[in-house]
């Protein structure tokens, strides 16, 4: 028993990830935490998307289930779970059954290497970014098989479109990622890295987010990735596979209930996954703003107060809206619910202000905040853009992003090697 406690405690002083330290207990804890956090994030994202999109479109969005529709995702989940699980008669039952699980597994497995902080990742792999791209590309298999197994035309066309789109944009995405990996090798030993943690540490060491590296090269790479990641997740304006006006609902037309909700879960966690890649590669991952410029205990204290303050602000918003609730007996439950929700948020905020908690969550907070920015962008795109036509989508992928990516790669290499190249050139000209 004592040995077990010691085993558990031994990790707490480690400066490695649980996987890196080989601590199975903490690895399991981290896996559960990431899984739970992801589920909560997907649920919150569901509500936020509906709310934000609604407010962009001069609507209110869900308002009935719980105060301001806060319980709507839960109601939706219950409805989906209680729905009859229909497998079409002519469908290939086994493949139909497996397909959503492939998608969900692919979408969740990538979070093994997502670095929420220098030690806050399940594990750090030597091939981290390659692993993320590879595993997230596996979801194509699930989509293709889902469309095929439905044995129906719309899902099949939707699946083919979807996977053609994902495979095409993976190319551009990969090129943008490689340009970042070239940037990581700009140190004395010129040791680049594929590790997600290593990439962030390289940004810290070079005192620059890769977004601004070799301006505007980093920005272009980020732009390519930011476009490709929207296409990769089949979201607006690249949501052709789900173009309602053409294809009903894409590859998951025949799915219902629980299995459909798996696709839904996978879509949102894939969005979070690609956003975390973008954050890690270009936006400094878990690093707080100006980690090299604004140093010192005062700044550290100030920036580590952000998580608590954010939650307290959210709590204040809840209380403000509680005060604005109609004073009618019918709204009593809702008012109490909103106040209770605000109280929970406030409590979380207070806990996050505690020094012991503060230093441990600040990295996670900055990472999540950056990812949340991307999530907002996704919603914003959906509210703003019309849908691309399929040939235009392919044109953007192959004729715009791919050549830009190739040029970017070559330019990044040239700029990164400029001193060596210059020395070489001088050697050639003056023998």
């Amino acid at each position: 028993m004592h040995a077990l406690v010691q085993y558990i405690q031994s990790y707490l002083d480690s400066d490695k990830t649980p996987g890196g330290a080989g601590n199975i207990f903490w690895a399991t804890v981290y896996i559960l935490l990431v899984f739970a956090g992801l589920s909560v994030a997907v649920i919150a994202m569901n509500w936020l998307e509906r709310k934000i999109l609604a407010h962009m479109q001069v609507r209110l969005g869900p308002m009935r289930v719980g105060p301001h529709g806060l319980l709507q995702p839960i109601a939706d989940a219950i409805k989906l779970l209680l729905k009859e699980d229909i497998i079409p008669a002519e469908a290939d039952a086994v493949v139909f059954w497996i397909a959503p699980f492939i998608v969900v597994l692919a979408a969740f497995t990538v979070f093994v290497v997502v670095p929420f902080g220098p030690t806050h990742a399940i594990t750090d792999m030597n091939i981290g970014i390659l692993f993320m791209l590879g595993v997230s590309s596996l979801s194509v298999l699930g989509i293709v098989t889902a469309g095929w197994a439905s044995n129906s035309h719309y899902p099949l066309i939707g699946a083919l479109r979807s996977s053609a789109q994902m495979v095409s944009y993976e190319v551009a995405m990969g090129l943008a990622v490689v340009s970042v990996i070239l940037m990581t090798s700009l140190n004395e030993q010129s040791t680049g890295t594929l590790s997600m943690i290593g990439i962030v540490q390289a940004q810290l060491a070079q005192q620059e987010w890769f977004l601004f590296k070799f301006f505007p090269l980093g920005l272009i790479g980020f732009g390519i990735f930011a476009i490709a990641m929207v296409a990769e997740t089949n979201r607006a304006p690249f949501d052709l596979p789900e173009a309602e006006s053409e294809l009903t609902a894409g590859f998951h037309t025949e799915y219902s209930g629980f299995r459909w909700s798996l696709f839904f879960l996978a879509e949102y966690s894939a969005m979070i996954a690609v956003s975390s890649i973008a954050v890690t590669l270009w936006l400094g991952g878990w690093l707080r703003p100006f980690p090299n410029l604004l140093v010192g205990p005062t700044w550290d204290l100030l920036f580590s107060l952000f998580p608590g303050i954010t939650f307290l602000l959210l709590a204040a918003m809840c209380f403000f809206n509680t005060a604005r609730m109609p004073k009618h007996p019918l709204f009593k439950v809702q008012t109490i619910g909103l106040a209770g929700f605000g109280a929970v948020l406030g409590l979380i905020g207070l806990i996050l202000v505690l020094p012991a908690v503060r230093i441990r969550v600040t990295d996670i907070f900055w990472f999540s905040a950056k990812v949340a920015g991307f999530m907002y962008l996704y919603i914003w795109y959906r509210g703003t853009f019309p849908r691309y036509r399929f040939d235009q989508l392919m044109k953007v992928g192959w004729k715009v992003l791919l050549p830009t990516g190739l040029a970017l790669l070559v330019l990044t290499a040239l700029v990164g090697m400029r001193t060596e190249l210059w020395a070489e050139l001088q050697g050639v000209w003056r023998p």
Binding site: I24, D92, N126, I127, L130, G134, S137, L138, W148
Partner: protein, 187 residues
């Protein structure tokens, strides 16, 4: 991270190696059998994907994470998607009802059995009481694997495979053009 990229013995040993090896090996063999026995090509493809993923895990156990990554991204995510695409483009309803094995299946089995006998003969050969392949002496950590492969491929001094690498890229280019020429309706 020490310079040699070597994990000192005892700090972080692999967990339950035999168990995972046999588990993955069983998955691979069952997957392989399913690949060659399924009527439906999609089922075959799914079985092959399972085999490939299990093999990627075996690569990880062999301290070859980069190959494992390439296996996942290229094989499972690229080539198999291509296979599934083609299977869906060509109708397979008819193919399922037809005879699955060709007329020379017996010859094939016999030839394969002969080959298997050869394998057994080779692997059971011992020279002076020693097996042909004794166990490797050390296990190496994977922290520098990618960098070392890159050094072999690209480094000016240590790199031996740069020419081969360029040839491989040419091969891919030829394959792209070939595939487009073959598959396009009107050029």
């Amino acid at each position: 991270m020490n310079p040699a990229g070597m994990i000192p013995a005892g700090t972080n040993p692999p967990v339950a190696t035999p168990f995972f090896f046999y588990l993955l090996a069983a998955i691979m063999v069952v997957g392989g059998v399913m690949v060659i026995t399924r009527k439906n090509a999609v089922h075959s493809a799914m079985a092959l994907i399972t085999t490939l993923l299990a093999q990627a895990a075996l690569y990880l156990m062999l301290y070859a994470p980069f190959v494992a990554g390439v296996q996942i991204i290229l094989y499972a995510g690229g080539i198999m998607v291509l296979f599934l695409f083609v299977i869906m483009l060509i109708s397979i309803e008819r193919a399922e009802k037809e005879r699955q094995f060709n007329k020379q299946w017996l010859v094939g089995i016999v030839a394969a059995a002969a080959l298997g006998g050869l394998f057994i003969a080779v692997y059971t050969t011992t020279t002076k009481g020693r097996a042909l392949f004794p166990e490797g002496r050390m296990t190496y950590g994977e922290t520098q694997n990618t960098q070392q492969i890159a050094a072999l491929l690209f480094d000016r001094t240590a790199g031996q495979y740069m020419f081969a690498f360029e040839i491989a890229s040419l091969l891919l280019l030829v394959a792209i053009i070939g595939a487009v020429v073959m598959a396009k309706k009107r050029i």
